[in-house]
Symmetry: C3
Subunit: 125 residues, 3 copies
């Protein structure tokens, strides 16, 4: 489980799009991952990990999670992702992400395998 | 409680819109229901149902949930819907839903009564 | 913790935008707050507060939440906000919010301090 601040990458895409007024969608392309907005504070991130583990504990056995009868061991990651969400939509105003104080965009990984992709889609003018 | 894969219906709306680049919003029009994106795997869906029942148990009595003092018995469904989310926003690229592997759109019903409606809104060009 | 119905304010922004077909994004600009759509029923709101307190209890001590070692006492509010969500996206059809029955937009505050701001962004034509 890990969280990566992807705000600079999203800002770059928005900047290169030349869109001044619009929306940007940022979503995980993986169903055991999340894109969310919150604070970039390491203690908080440790709190999230511990809290998510309480709400949806990792358990590779097929007893707790039927999904793990398919040969997967990541059913808990599908739960954690629903809590944290798949996507965020952020306003673009005057060419920039229209953020409140402390807002940062994170990619959240709950099943740490394979290379991962995030989709960033800008619309507007 | 039940989950219905509505991906084909959303794809049809996107196709008929002739939008090539844009966004599609898909949301439940009911406050005890959800639209979410995850895997179309029956064991996982059973896991979600069991997990949501643990986080927000059905209880028609007015003791656990004050909402059920209004004559309703579905307060738990309002909780389950917040976990799973009201809506998804998906990118449209080259006229198609821009999905990662395994992403499918589901309508989730937590209070199985009455006919239900989903809103699909396409914007772009 | 408190929930404020902001639907009239959002309707006003949509009306003044003169957009007839499009989307409106409504998001909290604070990372311990939420914008969500549900029913305007006081019993349900009390249920949400009690339920969120069970899932992520307030605890100002640094023992339960490492975030509170920074001098903050609101780690629980960051958890509650993830359950309830940061934002909603609503369709605009024929110049109006395209709502199902009972849908109302709320600002949810989980750390009741300071003046608060909500962002409303309308796109479309």
């Amino acid at each position: 489980m890990g969280f990566v601040n992807i705000t600079p990458e999203v800002e770059l895409v928005v900047s290169e799009s030349a869109v001044r007024e619009g929306l940007v969608l940022v979503n995980a392309m993986h169903i055991t991952a999340s894109v969310f907005i919150n604070d970039d504070e390491p203690g908080l991130h440790r709190d999230y990990k511990r809290w998510l583990e309480q709400l949806a504990p990792f358990d590779a056995s097929p007893d707790r999670y039927q999904h793990n009868r398919t040969g997967e061991d990541n059913a808990d990651a599908h739960m954690k992702r629903q809590i944290m969400g798949r996507e965020v939509v952020v306003a673009i105003t005057a060419g920039k992400l229209d953020f409140g104080p402390w807002e940062q965009i994170f990619y959240g990984e709950f099943d740490g395998k394979r290379a991962k992709r995030v989709l960033v889609k800008v619309i507007g003018e």
